[in-house]
């Protein structure tokens, strides 16, 4: 007979205690233990798989591309000549003319601001292919004058948008600054933001 209160051989004690538990209950305990192990192992596997698979990529544009697109856009030659043909204005020149003299017209009779609107819209729509079914769901372009001393006091020049900025996975964007005048430190900024879904 082994005394229960005797310390020392604990394994023997444990086995004796086990033998006191009815067989059906013991198998229940074992099953429970097995299920617990299976659950823990499954959780670990799921976490590992999640880490391995969950690194998905969006196929839309990133901010570097958007900045490059903005920079390339300002050199785009429009069909608006102000002084003579073939001195066609680029987007940079159109923005500057539209800010300084919005009433100015191209030789074709279109106003410079109208020509800027059409040109910028065409460039962005053809480059980004914005539609609800494509990776680029929406975009907005904001062209504004920003005085040097007062950054808050923005003077809008042009605003364009297409699509709805809703449920965007990421919103890459870029900004490009042009000097507002030869002797001025103020800038004209072009901001482009895209909704990647």
């Amino acid at each position: 007979m082994i005394k229960n209160n005797k310390r020392g051989n604990s394994r023997l004690d444990f086995e004796n205690k086990l033998s006191l538990i009815p067989k059906s209950k013991r198998s229940q305990h074992e099953t429970l233990g097995f299920v617990l192990i299976v659950v823990i192992v499954s959780i670990i596997i799921v976490i590992f798989l999640g880490m391995a698979v969950g690194k998905g990529k969006t196929t839309g544009q990133n901010s570097v591309e958007i900045s490059n697109l903005l920079q390339a856009s300002i050199y785009y030659t429009s069909d608006c000549a102000i002084n003579y043909v073939p001195e066609y204005e680029d987007v940079q020149g159109l923005i500057s003319s539209c800010y300084k003299n919005p009433e100015q017209e191209c030789l074709s009779g279109k106003s410079v601001c109208e020509s800027l609107n059409e040109t910028l819209k065409r460039i962005i729509e053809q480059s980004l292919r914005v539609s609800p079914d494509s990776p680029n769901k929406a975009y907005k372009v904001n062209v504004y004058f920003s005085p040097l001393n007062n950054v808050q006091d923005k003077e809008p020049i042009l605003y364009l948008e297409q699509g709805i900025f809703d449920k965007c996975k990421s919103k890459p964007g870029g900004i490009y600054s042009l000097p507002a005048g030869t002797f001025s430190s103020s800038t004209i900024n072009i901001e482009l933001e895209v909704c990647n879904g």
Partner: protein
């Protein structure tokens, strides 16, 4: 009685041995699984780094003497220089890309099969200038928007005309080889 106890002990040792083998096997499998994931991650990190490297090189490429516009525009490539670089195989070893091409704005909405490949006869009324292509099978294309400028001749009447700089948007597309655990990429 003693013999019975001995047999029981042997059984217990056997049971423990089996259990130890099972535990070692289980942890072995777990380690193997973890190593596989780590190994796969190393390759994907290599690929991401290569893509980043390609993108950086690509951005700088537009300002290299081979492509740079005559005017002081940054991120601007000279279309007339690009067309003259076409099919010059020496450049395939000069730049760290598996392929290099320029896609004009007119082709952004087109599939590769629909694009009109540029040659001396149809330039500039074409979509795609292929500088070189090493024909790598496992390749990912990285692109960057650039201004694409060229000299345009505008006819006024039978005898007179003007030449001016015409700029549009284009994509400079560079291919980078994708590494995979099975080995390096195979030629197409």
């Amino acid at each position: 009685m003693e013999k019975k106890l001995n047999k029981k002990g042997q059984l217990k040792i056997q049971e423990m041995a089996f259990m130890l083998v099972a535990v070692v096997l289980f942890f072995g499998l777990v380690v193997l699984f973890t190593l596989t994931i780590i190994y796969k991650n190393i390759y994907s990190q290599v690929n991401v780094k290569n893509q980043e490297k390609t993108l950086t090189s690509l951005i700088n490429l537009a300002d290299s003497p081979e492509f740079r516009c005559v005017t002081t525009k940054s991120d601007c490539i000279d279309g007339d220089k690009a067309i003259s670089l076409m099919n010059r195989t020496v450049y395939s070893n000069f730049w760290p890309f598996s392929s290099l091409s320029v896609i004009k704005l007119s082709a952004f909405a087109k599939n590769e099969s629909e694009m009109i490949k540029c040659n001396w006869a149809n330039y500039p009324n074409c979509d795609l200038i292929v500088i070189y292509d090493k024909k790598i099978k496992n390749e990912i294309a990285i692109s960057s928007y650039v201004a694409f400028c060229r000299k345009e001749y505008e006819k006024v009447d039978t005898y007179t005309g003007y030449v001016y700089d015409k700029c549009e948007i284009a994509k400079l597309v560079a291919g980078t080889e994708l590494k995979n655990p099975a080995g390096t990429a195979v030629a197409r």
